[in-house]
Amino acid sequence: MTRVYISRDMASVALGADDVARAFEAAGCEVVRTGSRGLFSIEPLVEVENEGQRIGFGPVGPADVATVLDGSHKARLGNVADLPFFAGQQRFTFARCGIIDPLSLQDYAEHDGWRGLDAARAMPPQAVVDAVKASGLRGRGGAGFPTGVKWQTVLEAASDAKFIVCNADEGDSGTFADRMLMEGDPFCLIEGMAIAGHAVGAGHGYIYIRSEYPFAIAAMQEAIALSAARIAPFTLEVRVGAGAYVCGEETALLDSIEGKRGQVRAKPPLPALQGLFGQPTVINNVLSLAAVPFILAEGAEAYATIGFGRSRGTMPVQLAGNVKHGGLYEIGFGITLGELVNAIGGGTASGRPVRAVQVGGPLGAYFPPGMFDLPFDYEAFAQAGGLIGHAGITVFDDSVDMAHMARFAMEFCAVESCGKCTPCRIGSTRGVEVMDRIIAARDSAPAVPAERHWEGYLQKALHSRTPDRIDTGLEAQTTLLRDLCDTMKYGSLCALGGFTPYPVLSALDHFPEDFGAPAPIKEAAE
């Protein structure tokens, strides 16, 4: 019987993989459902096994069974791993994703699974924490805090009950690495959490998954049941979110698990000392925890040799939006934004010029192609007025209206604000209003107002109770927008209100022409 491999990943299914799988089953093939390889322009992808080799075909429809099986299908790709998109990657965390049956314990064990956990359990907890520290692994959720340092704090905290919490509330648009890993290699995350449990002395863990990821929830629940004996005495359970973006913020997430409104807590106390149910808690992103098995199995050195500056190891970069070859590209830090977008992503899907990319989700900055030489590195991005976040890159072509995107950033913050702090709750709503005035003023092309004093603008722009006295001119409203962003950035309790100014101000700074101001002088191309 011919064996074929077809992805069960939510993205592949959205593109019709289930129908394709049924067609191959009807033709008498043995169909193995894997995770996704991570390149969506070739999905639904079918790999036919032939003498131990897999020959890929994609995209494939249900009517293509015969031509795929006799090898004459025009979308024959050969060995998928040899495609340029995959050959250039350094897959540490996603090594198994797309290759194995995600819910087969046998497959997992045969592909180096559990080696990290076995190595960790043969070591004292402090040695495990030291290995994670030595690897240089930093929080992959966005903040980039050293994972080993966090674990050290929890290890040293005295308590009978400690918890491992996995943040799988991947709400940022343009990111899907957590989802792909949970669907494509769930045992890897389970292994990472069991290692964390051993390292800090925690007996129970929670995986908080957003409700928008039904496939990941099902895969994780099944994988936990299958591997319970293997990770014992450590235990795990899945908690399902309920559509609140802010629950991706670690303290809001803890409150949500506790059964409360997902509101942000003030820090200190740090969750590492008083986290879930007031107990010391390791809370890490999916990708941080999933990187740990490799580090323990191959050694901290193997992980730390890859990277750039203080950003060590690999980052699963996600190419999204209007991009030709979108997908997951795991690579060592240091690759430039331009290489990712143009060389690997192939530019826009629409064929029009790239105008902007947003890195790091709804709270990340917009960058113009003029900044594409920026290396992928936490510090370099911070210096450029942005952030890596969860390493999602959303590509926009030249039809994008950046003032509209700035307005959307404010609108999103207003919808998702937890309401606890004023700059975020009120500021975002006021921000939408200011952006509406800027867009209206830009579109009506007003006369340039006479020179006035700066404070005067703010004063007049702020007269919200007497609308006829508001200066709705571009200059006054732009000044007000900057002032508002300043308040939100420095006055908000968490990253939602605090980082919403990144997309707003970066749009304003790099694309002033969309805000009715003169375009910046373009630097000469090389």
């Binding site: 959205a14 059964g259 999204a320 209007n322 959307f408």
Partner: protein, 155 residues
Amino acid sequence: MQQEDTVRLIEDWTKTHGRTRDRLLPLLHMLQEEIGFIDDAAIPAIAKNLNLSRADVHGVVTFYHDFRRAPAGRHVVKFCRAESCQARGAAAMEKAAAERLGVPMGETRPDGQVTLEPIYCLGLCAIGPNALVDGRPVARIDTAALERIAQEIAA
């Protein structure tokens, strides 16, 4: 479902799953799964079984976007409006969807056949515009795909 059935559902569930506060979200998910929405009339029973105040339960129900306080239409279309889908023309498709399905975003059609809701990211960001149609993911939505969705909903 009758009021007493809802109360029994809550009591039975808490008997097997526990009555601690952290059971609140799983309980609300279960109720929504079983009944389709969180009835205001169920809040006193939830509060009693988990030893919380009614105000506390109300606060949690209203905080999370997922929990409905009124029944949805027979079909639910959740249309993504996040940035990556916008970069692929989601705004225009959203407008077309509202027109073709005959219901504004965020509302249920008067005949109760369909609810159209916004969702912020399904994690299918390289193949947008995306939607969940009765829980099934649909990618690369264009006019033809929209027509198929509309047919499905009319049936």
